[in-house]
């Protein structure tokens, strides 16, 4: 099962000064309020955050419900916007692998992959003994998911007190937080190029296809950054 000591260590790591908890909570307060406004009930709102636990996907679902898009459309749009979780998983899980951990645990633990937990883990994995990294990760993920679900509930109940300007204010917090995160990740040529080219190509490819811009733009930018970095000794 899960090692309690490392689970708790992971769980409380969300308290750090550079923790994504504030940005995470604010964004899910906005999602909770949005769910209420488009007619979801409280159970559906909790269910959605708990099961999806990926902000852009939830936003797309909400927008699709408003315009009455088909389930196939929702599926494709969400898959495309959340496909970033694939490289995120591949760039994290090899660090957590240990032969003593059962395979099934990885398939359940990957549900916690979201940018907030991912960042905490990337910062802290070296300080955790390899054998228990997966347990630590489950702790980090559970804490973040708990914040997300609680914030959704809070947002749902205060929806009536939030005016348009406040909703707009809440919506900028997450992008600003991640802009800061991305800038502080720019420590090598490779990372700097990945961030800068990702931004530029994400915008350029939007003019070709708004749906595919994140995937195609991100793939092109990341691959270019990797090769240029390798040629220049990272």
């Amino acid at each position: 099962m899960v090692n309690t000591k490392y689970f708790l260590k992971g769980f409380i790591s969300i308290k750090g000064a550079d923790s994504p908890a504030i940005a995470l909570a604010v964004s899910f307060i906005a999602i909770g309020a949005l769910f209420k406004n488009i007619g979801l009930n409280i159970q559906e709102s909790i269910f959605s955050t708990f099961l999806t636990y990926a902000l852009p996907g939830s936003l797309i679902m909400a927008e699709s419900l408003i315009v009455g898009a088909s389930l196939l459309n929702i599926f494709l749009a969400v898959w495309l916007v959340n496909a970033r979780l694939y490289p995120m998983t591949v760039s994290l899980f090899p660090l957590l692998t240990h032969k003593s951990q059962p395979r099934l645990k990885y398939y359940l633990a990957c549900h916690f992959i979201a940018v907030s937990s991912w960042l905490i883990m990337k910062e802290n994995y070296k300080s955790v003994e390899r054998k228990y990294r997966l347990d630590f990760w489950i702790g980090v993920g559970a804490a973040n998911l708990l914040v997300a679900v609680s914030a959704t509930v809070f947002g749902f109940f205060i929806a009536d007190y939030l005016n348009k300007d406040m909703m707009i204010g809440l919506a900028i917090v997450n992008p600003v937080y991640f802009t800061c995160v991305m800038v502080s990740a720019m420590k090598t040529i490779q990372m700097s190029l990945a961030v800068i080219l990702g931004t530029v190509f994400g915008i350029l490819f939007y003019f070709v296809s708004p749906e595919w811009c994140i995937l195609v733009g991100g793939f092109t930018a990341g691959t270019l950054a990797f090769f240029i970095g390798e040629l220049n000794g990272n």
Partner: protein, 107 residues
């Protein structure tokens, strides 16, 4: 409508979980010191940046109601605050909401 919402939530969750699940399968064969691992790290940061650029420049939802220039100014000022405050994450995130709520109520 109620059934539709539940179905939409399930479809959204499934579409999201696929990428995580495939990521675990791919991870099995990848060593953390390999070039492929480094490449995926670049891909993770570049796709996140691409998503971020899209959220700021071509937003959906509430943000779309604010002028592009206002959004850009708020992100830029907050980034400066972040750099000046020796990379403190709390000031820029809290101030960003106040700035934008204030600016969008004026313009």
């Amino acid at each position: 409508m109620a059934i539709d919402i539940i179905l939409a939530i399930l479809v959204t969750s499934f579409a999201t979980y696929i990428s995580r699940f495939l990521g675990v399968i791919t991870s099995k064969k990848i060593k953390e010191n390999s070039k492929i691992f480094k490449w995926f790290n670049c891909l993770a940061y570049s796709t996140l940046s691409a998503l971020l650029a899209r959220l700021v420049i071509f937003p959906a939802g509430a943000l779309a109601e604010v002028d592009y220039l206002v959004r850009f100014i708020v992100v830029f000022i907050c980034l400066m605050i972040f750099l000046i405050s020796k990379k403190n994450f709390v000031y820029p995130t809290v101030l960003s909401a106040l700035f934008l709520a204030f600016l969008s109520s004026i313009f």
